[in-house]
Symmetry: D2
Amino acid sequence: MIIIMRADSGEQQIHAVEAKLKAMGMGAHVSRGIERTVIGAIGDERKIDMEALEVIPGVDNVVRVMKPYKIVSRDSHPENSIVNVKDVPIGGKQIQVIAGPCSVETQPQMDSAAASVAEAGCRLMRGGAFKPRTSPYAFQGTGVQGLEMFRQAADRHHLPIVTELMDVRMLDKFLKNEVDVIQIGTRNMANFDLLKEVGKVHKPVILKRGMSATISEWLMAAEYIAAGGNHNIIFCERGVRSFETYYRNMLDVTAIPVLKRETHLPVIVDPSHAGGKAWMVPALARAAVAAGADGLLVEMHPCPSEAWCDADQALSPQELATLMGELGAIAGALGREV
Amino acid sequence: MIIIMRADSGEQQIHAVEAKLKAMGMGAHVSRGIERTVIGAIGDERKIDMEALEVIPGVDNVVRVMKPYKIVSRDSHPENSIVNVKDVPIGGKQIQVIAGPCSVETQPQMDSAAASVAEAGCRLMRGGAFKPRTSPYAFQGTGVQGLEMFRQAADRHHLPIVTELMDVRMLDKFLKNEVDVIQIGTRNMANFDLLKEVGKVHKPVILKRGMSATISEWLMAAEYIAAGGNHNIIFCERGVRSFETYYRNMLDVTAIPVLKRETHLPVIVDPSHAGGKAWMVPALARAAVAAGADGLLVEMHPCPSEAWCDADQALSPQELATLMGELGAIAGALGREV
Amino acid sequence: MIIIMRADSGEQQIHAVEAKLKAMGMGAHVSRGIERTVIGAIGDERKIDMEALEVIPGVDNVVRVMKPYKIVSRDSHPENSIVNVKDVPIGGKQIQVIAGPCSVETQPQMDSAAASVAEAGCRLMRGGAFKPRTSPYAFQGTGVQGLEMFRQAADRHHLPIVTELMDVRMLDKFLKNEVDVIQIGTRNMANFDLLKEVGKVHKPVILKRGMSATISEWLMAAEYIAAGGNHNIIFCERGVRSFETYYRNMLDVTAIPVLKRETHLPVIVDPSHAGGKAWMVPALARAAVAAGADGLLVEMHPCPSEAWCDADQALSPQELATLMGELGAIAGALGREV
Amino acid sequence: MIIIMRADSGEQQIHAVEAKLKAMGMGAHVSRGIERTVIGAIGDERKIDMEALEVIPGVDNVVRVMKPYKIVSRDSHPENSIVNVKDVPIGGKQIQVIAGPCSVETQPQMDSAAASVAEAGCRLMRGGAFKPRTSPYAFQGTGVQGLEMFRQAADRHHLPIVTELMDVRMLDKFLKNEVDVIQIGTRNMANFDLLKEVGKVHKPVILKRGMSATISEWLMAAEYIAAGGNHNIIFCERGVRSFETYYRNMLDVTAIPVLKRETHLPVIVDPSHAGGKAWMVPALARAAVAAGADGLLVEMHPCPSEAWCDADQALSPQELATLMGELGAIAGALGREV
């Protein structure tokens, strides 16, 4: 940690910083420049609050030199980590496309969806039983019954299932219904109590980026899960809030190479929630794979226009099959496979 | 709801929209313009999904004409609502400054803080027992024991207490310790299961704005609480995420007049978390009151430089007392009082 | 244009809207819903100001139904337009990678750069003679002399040149030095007087997106150029401002499919200014091509660490050559070529 | 300047940084921490590019310790500067409200506006003769003829005039028509050639903040003007781009105390362009004054509903007079006057 003093700070203020550092168990290394004095703190800065230094009179700015995340950091584990979901590896050479409807509606809908997912060549299936909706008056999901319908439909095609956990009190139900991957949605990325709980189980977790979370905050949210003992974490970029109104969210494609540099964990992308329109999905999906994503989370509905939610962003089974072909060609061009 | 057709859409597509509206129990009113056809949906649009219309081929755009919120809307209740916390009214002529430390640390710290809050003329006290921290390695709050220390310190000065609820499983403990106002923090504004639970109790709720929530989403989050039966809701603007790095969040002062127009419920402002630096607080607090806020949530610590968290944003007791004087003068200029 | 009245508006206010529309030469089509009255304006809404309607008492909101852009709109020209720069087509099957240094420094630097650009298989060259720098104390470019050095170096390899015009008074110098493509930078996207002037000449123009311009504003900026008679416009996405601090700008990859839908003109991407770091460029470049971009603007310097500006974002000649290979494979997978 | 090395960097890379600093004429001060080595650069960092250091292998991050701005910095001039416009001081105890129409339309309109401005007690008048419009098909201003009408109307009431300069080629006309304050609009804040030209004349300049400019970039834009010799600069906050769609721009009220800390120059606020609706203006104007602004730029039209542009954001003469009363009360509460 580096403490930059104000141009008009005096010796007494420099001593105060040194004393505070000492009280924190840190050493101090004072460097007097032409205009400014700069103090380097020696020790493990992760344990100390920057604010307690910033408040000292004469301090202009405090800058971290260490990354605040440890377990999820690539510094701590230089090789790529592969998260195995049953027999399906996420984070290796093979790119995984996780497809399925926005929400679980009925058994026939899920049966049809599962058949299309398998037929398109996807190895995992997604579907929402509990839905975070902006309006309390909108459809809130089919709940536990939905989990059961999902489980039954997916089992017929040996597809591991991915579904969102919103309420910490439902975790037992998720485990009982053998959900294979627990998804933490964008609205809960900083729901720390929920993160702590999924950190205690041994299920893989897909951690979506918060609506306007910085990459650093996102890595720290993953660190919450990892600190509990669960290292099976998959990051999912799903677009962030921006000033642009043409589409729903701005897909942050740059986050892909950044995460691949900062963490050893797999990174996937949700092009459906990013753009919010089915016609944007293929271009965004191709871009994600070309930028190095390890997988995709794609909405597909047997009959998009009849979907109970987000009808305008689901691909049809045919569109999914076509997309899989395009992604295969791009993956091949990069030495990977779909 | 208005459905705007694409310039190249045909009669068949217009009929498809009419049929879909009919199936939804809505009427249709077709208006053929020079370049575009526009279809008005007749009925209660709050019950229907825009996406199910947007997905119909030939549809360019769907526009709502009704507000999605009902109970919290000023249309439904033209007069200002006053939320009473014990005997303290929020939302009336009197502006309430809710002051106290970021986090509950020790009994002496809380005793001292409560004395300063009362002395400055504030009628409510804030303090965090459960702290949402970006890092899992940072101090996480004193928990239930903190609630008890807070209760004891505040009671001596007859100050109702405001504290943050992060985990739905702690609600019983909040009720048992007679927390007077439940605060929902920025990270939980869209934690809908938590909102539903506080909607079932009869405690006043301060609902902070999500990090990058639109005003409309924020009103809908309040609608979640209101739909459960609890109408004692206070909005709290606390700054939003932006590109500016000089301060922590960008205080959205315009949200104050907008909310006062859209809802009958009280609106307060947290200048401490907005700016993130104690020296910014007085200017932001004055601006909030001048713009029409019904109250403030201000961090004050008996000794800011010793605070266990957010040390650089707390006012000292003296600074709080000075600020109260300034706010009184501005309130007076506007026909209100502090 | 649709005028949505407030729930509490009366007949007199509806008549006022009708009268105003009539005065504007528009017809009115009144539709009375259950909660709201909606008035459709019949006629060419591009000629009228929404604000003059919004100001009428009782009006809640005014919504456009026509696109504000005409010449650049795909509605007006459904086929893709190809902009020819000498013999190099931009916007067709072939993807163009325009490479070169951030700034023109010396003749040997430009000679070396031009040789590397040609050798990598690129068909156009970029380089800045006039540099928009945040600080008045930073290097401001080599100016007209730089244009001459650039021209000379590029001519040896028959490379058409692309360079930025910042000052309307320099346009003659650009024409005299036979600049092949005039680049309008992000800071000047809404410099309407400059746009009007380049609209009068017959040189192709690369129009970079403003730092936080919406896609609609960007299309309107192009419309300024097109309205003057110059339809040889190439859009260039270069990242937008966001809250994320890990990289310089957030590349808006979704803008690519959106623009390809909204306009017939070519769309290219600048991955160098988006990320701001050389190591991010390959991933972003691949993503852009995969998403459908017609070309790229890439910084390459003979010796990046010696570059006079933006040293950390330039590729080396070897890195450019490697990237061209990757892009060729992706383009091939999509039925295009580099 | 501080250079933070990567955790895995070696001695050779540290030497390379030292050598580069030496070549730049700077000294180096190496500090080896537990995880990271940090190098302090000794000398005037304003003259060197951070990028040339960031590109050196092994460098993780480079941090400035000096402010990049000099002349406009409060460090260089601790007292408040007062900019005198004829006899009207901006930046002192008296708060100046600069009012007038968005655009100059006709002589009677300007005569009426000037009378209302003077009557309300304002001491300066605003009005646009050249208008930056998003659409090339919209009214572009009355131009030089507008300047003359403005001059004539304002002279009758001894009101100095403020008007926007968009095109560097019109500067002579501005001087000839004795424009008293040159306004640089948001779209031209980073039009560096224009800034350099107004830096050469001795007219006061109002420099509006760019649509998404950081405060640091804005200060640097002012430094461009100041570096040319013209120190009569007034900052004008006018709202920035955000994700919120309820209003036009998000007024950054926090920028007021920040600028007052960072620069000695006056700071004013434009509440009209920030909110974009007349009904929001009073709340925003009061907030700006309460936060410490030295003045306001407010749109007022003799008959708002007839305005040729931005009809929905202009106050009526009566509304302006009422606002002046409110502002006077708030200014008084703060020991200032209107």
